[in-house]
Structure formats: C-alpha cells, structure tokens
C-alpha cells in the first residue's frame, strides 16, 4: 500500500535552486542584519585606503533598473558595484524602451538576456522586484517599490545609528512626517523591531497608518523623548490627485516641521533624502552638526557593497518573500 504523505514540499516538482534576493526586510533575521552590518564595516575600512577598489566581484554584472527618479540610491549602487570590480549597466525608464510602451516583464527579459548576476530595481509599483525575480535568473535587490519596501535604506540607517550612537538595542527613534506613503518607514519599522529599537511614529492623523507595529502620536512634542529624530518628506507624488491629507504645506511645516526649537540640544536628526528644506525640516537643522544626512549617504555606499556581496555569497536572503509571492 502506498502511503500518502501530506508534506507539501515533497509534492512539489523539483524547481531550480533558490537564489538569494533582498526584496524586503522580512527576508532578514537578526543574524543576517548583523552579518550585513559587519561586512559593511569591513568595506568601510577598504575605502580608507589609497586604492579603494576591491577585486571581489570581478567579472560579475550588476544591472541597475530605475523606473523612478533617484540620486542617492542609484549612484551608490553603481559606485558600490564598481568598488567591488563588477561591471555595471544602468537603465533608466526615461529615455528607454519603457517610453515606447515596453512592459516591465519584457524589459526584465531583455536585460536578463545579458546574464546579469544582480538586478537592482526601483519601481513605482509594489511587487515589481518579485516579478523580476521570477522572470530572470539574477539575484534581485529591491531599491524601492511603491509604498512597500526600501530595505537597503533601512540597513544603511541601522549602520549609521550604530556608527554614531555605538549601539542599536534600546535606542528610541521618532519617525516624523508622511509615514503613510513612505516605503522607508515600512522598512525601518520592521528593521527596528529586528534589532530592538523602540519606534514612535509622529505626524498628522491622515498620514499615520494604523497597521504598523509601532507607537503612533500626532503630538510633535513626543519627539523630545527620542534619541534620534528621523524626518520624512511629504511624498506628494504618491498622493491621489485631489486628495487632501494636510491643509497646506505651510500648515504642515508649522505644526510638524523639525526646527531647532523643537529638538533637544544634541539630539541627532536623520533624513533619507531628498530634503525639502523649510517644509519638513528647517534649514538650520539640516545644516547643523547634529544632522546625520551626509553620514547616511556615506553609509549607503558601504551597506550597498555589503548587500551586493551578500546576495552573491552570503546567507539565505529573499527566499521567504519570493516563496510567499509564489503562493499568492
């Protein structure tokens, strides 16, 4: 008699070996985060040398596929790949065949024909990186998809926090601004939970999502309790046309803008960029010695080097998210 075993995995036909991706912070556990930050620190040491290039990813191809505008993320991924001796190919939607109506799938298949090792993708729609992971043989790194996730930003912020404050566990960070439309906030809240950082979301009631596992408040004075204030931009491009979240940017700025008066002396301020000076952040704060904005940019390079190195060599990244997407 044949025994039927109800183990789902055994009933599945053998597929290709799972590749490593970084699609969401949910792909990582605490050990993965520690390993990535540790690798980033080793890369930071190599950037202090006269010769800043490492031969590690020689002969590999990293494709940067950017469907949304970006300065920091695209330039740092490109430089990260170059510092590791990989070849890079940057494709921006504007000016490419996307303008002629090519779908994401077809663009991915086209670029996949060059046999890239890693595809870094930014896209206005949630789930675009998962689609690219399914139709190509490359390792996929999510550089921001819609309002969903921006995992490398969260990792570089963890790296910055540890460099500046010496620890992660037990810190308290207040995230202020348009949390609702922010993929950075979604990745950050998850990353903070992984490493034991307390997180408070502050902003107008219309821009505070309820489903995130963090404390929320509309009271701007709550930021004084935090070790670090993390400022978010008003993401007007993601707001439905005609919808009204705040009466005006001036009103927002008056009630939730980060000014020197609202901060404790010495309180650190972070911002993922791009900044709108005078709206969510006062120029005096942006230019003060307590602003970690340029440190974040510098962290971005070494953390993205670590991510590229890690998806090609390191732990099991992205398998969970991809499996979930396959089932869905």
């Amino acid at each position: 008699m044949t025994r039927i075993r109800l183990v789902q995995d055994e009933l599945r036909p053998p597929g290709p070996p799972s590749r490593r991706h970084l699609l969401s912070i949910a792909d990582l556990d605490r050990d993965d985060v520690e390993r990535l930050l540790g690798t980033a620190q080793s890369f930071a040491a190599s950037l202090e040398r006269h010769v800043k290039k490492l031969p590690t990813l020689k002969g590999h191809l990293v494709v940067n596929l950017f469907y949304e505008s970006s300065t920091r993320t695209s330039s740092s991924f490109e430089l990260a790949a170059k510092r590791l001796s990989a070849d890079t190919l940057t494709v921006r939607a504007a000016g490419s065949s996307v303008d002629k109506g090519e779908s994401l799938k077809d663009t991915a298949l086209t670029l996949g024909a060059y046999d890239p090792d890693v595809i870094v993708i930014r896209h206005p729609h949630v789930g675009a990186p998962q689609l690219v992971a399914r139709v190509t043989a490359a390792h996929v790194v999510n550089a921001g998809d819609g309002t969903h996730q921006h995992p490398t930003q969260a990792l570089l912020d963890l790296y910055t926090l540890r460099q500046e404050l010496g620890r992660l566990e037990g810190l308290h960070v207040a995230i202020v601004g348009d949390v609702l439309h922010s993929r950075v906030a979604r990745s950050l809240v998850e990353a903070f939970r992984l490493v034991g950082i307390r997180c408070t979301l502050v902003g107008p009631p219309t821009l505070l999502p309820r489903e995130l596992p963090a404390e929320t408040t509309t009271d701007i004075d709550a930021i004084r309790d935090a070790d670090v204030v993390y400022v978010l931009r008003m993401q007007s491009e993601r707001m439905q046309p005609g919808s009204c979240y705040v009466p005006s940017l001036r009103e927002y700025s008056a009630r939730w803008g980060i000014t020197p008066e609202r901060l404790r002396p010495g309180q650190k301020v972070m911002h993922p960029g791009p900044m709108n000076r005078g709206v969510e952040i006062d120029p005096r704060v942006a230019d003060s010695a307590d602003s970690l904005v340029t440190t974040e940019v510098r962290s971005g390079l070494v953390v993205r080097m670590a991510v590229l190195y890690d998806v090609l060599t390191g732990g099991p990244v992205g398998v969970r998210a991809l499996a979930a997407a396959e089932v869905a």
């Binding site: 290709p16 070996p17 590749r19 490593r20 540790g38 690798t39 080793s42 890369f43 040491a45 190599s46 040398r49 006269h50 010769v51 290039k53 490492l54 031969p55 590690t56 990813l57 590999h60 590791l84 090792d117 043989a137 490359a138 390792h139 190195y309 090609l312 060599t313 390191g314």
Partner: protein, 189 residues
Amino acid sequence: MSGKILLDADALSRTLSRIAHEIIEANPDLAEVALVGIQTRGVPLARRLARLIEERAGEAPELGAVDITFYRDDVTVRGGEAPLAAQPLVRATQLDFPLDGRTVVLVDDVLYTGRTIRAAIEALFDYGRPARVQLAVLVDRGHRELPIRPDYVGKNLPTSRGERIQVQLVEVDEVDAVLLVSSPEEESR
C-alpha cells in the same frame, strides 16, 4: 578534534625560533622588515615571530595583519547557485605602516594550494608597493596549484588531499600543536 600529533608545543616553539633566526639572517636591515600575518592563525604566528626576532636582534620588525576574504578566487559560482563553501567571517586588515620600499614577510600556518598566498599578495599591493615579499609558513603540506614557493618553512609534511593539517595555537585554540586529521571532504583552499 583529534588527530595524529605531528608537532607538539616544544617542537612548534623550536620551529618558530629557527624561522625567526632565518628571517634575521636573510634581512640584515630589520628596520625595513614587516611581518604580516594572514588571518586567522597567521596573525598570532607573526606576533610570536616578531617577539622572537626582537629578543634575538634587539630590533622589532613592524607587525600587521591581512584578511583575504574579499580577494578570494572562489567568492561565487556562476549561474546563480550558492558558493561551494560558506564564506568565512571577514576579519580585520591592519597595516598601520607604509608598505612602500619595505620587505614584507607574509606569515601563514599551512601552505597548501597557494591560492590564499596569491590573494594575500594581491591584497598587499592595494595598500602599497613593497620592495619585496617573502613567505614564512609553519607547515608546507604540498599540492601547490600556483607557482608559489615559501622562503621560510617550519616543517615539510607531505600529505594526501584527503588529509588535513590542523595547526592549533594557544592564542586561538588554548593549546600549541600541529595535527594530522583525515577529513572526508577536501579542503577547498
């Protein structure tokens, strides 16, 4: 891990003394010499050699450490699969002195395929341009895959590929010994 003891603590210490002596003889100007240990066990070996040289010659050479993880030739396997072996932990590279014009003695515990040494030489040259690079190893077990030859050898121990030489040092393993261990899987380095 158990195995056949090839060198005990006394023999290991005598071997290091002899290597230190040979380094002094070959390099009359010790001020120009730097000992650079390859992570992990090359680092304490380099430190011990530096101390022995200082005791004998009255002059301590510079001391450094190099990690070759990012210089390996087996970082990834093409085709999207995982690499054959788990990547090792990255340790610190510390070269706090200018390399230009110096005689660098690379120090490692076991010399096998030579691939680690190739990577270490490449790493060194990203920090500067040494006048010459020499190689000191505690054990040479043969099976070279690259044209690399040590300048100072503690002990030549011909092995089969299925065997492994395990060097244990007080600084890392709480005991000084060189063991022969038969291993089912071939060591990839």
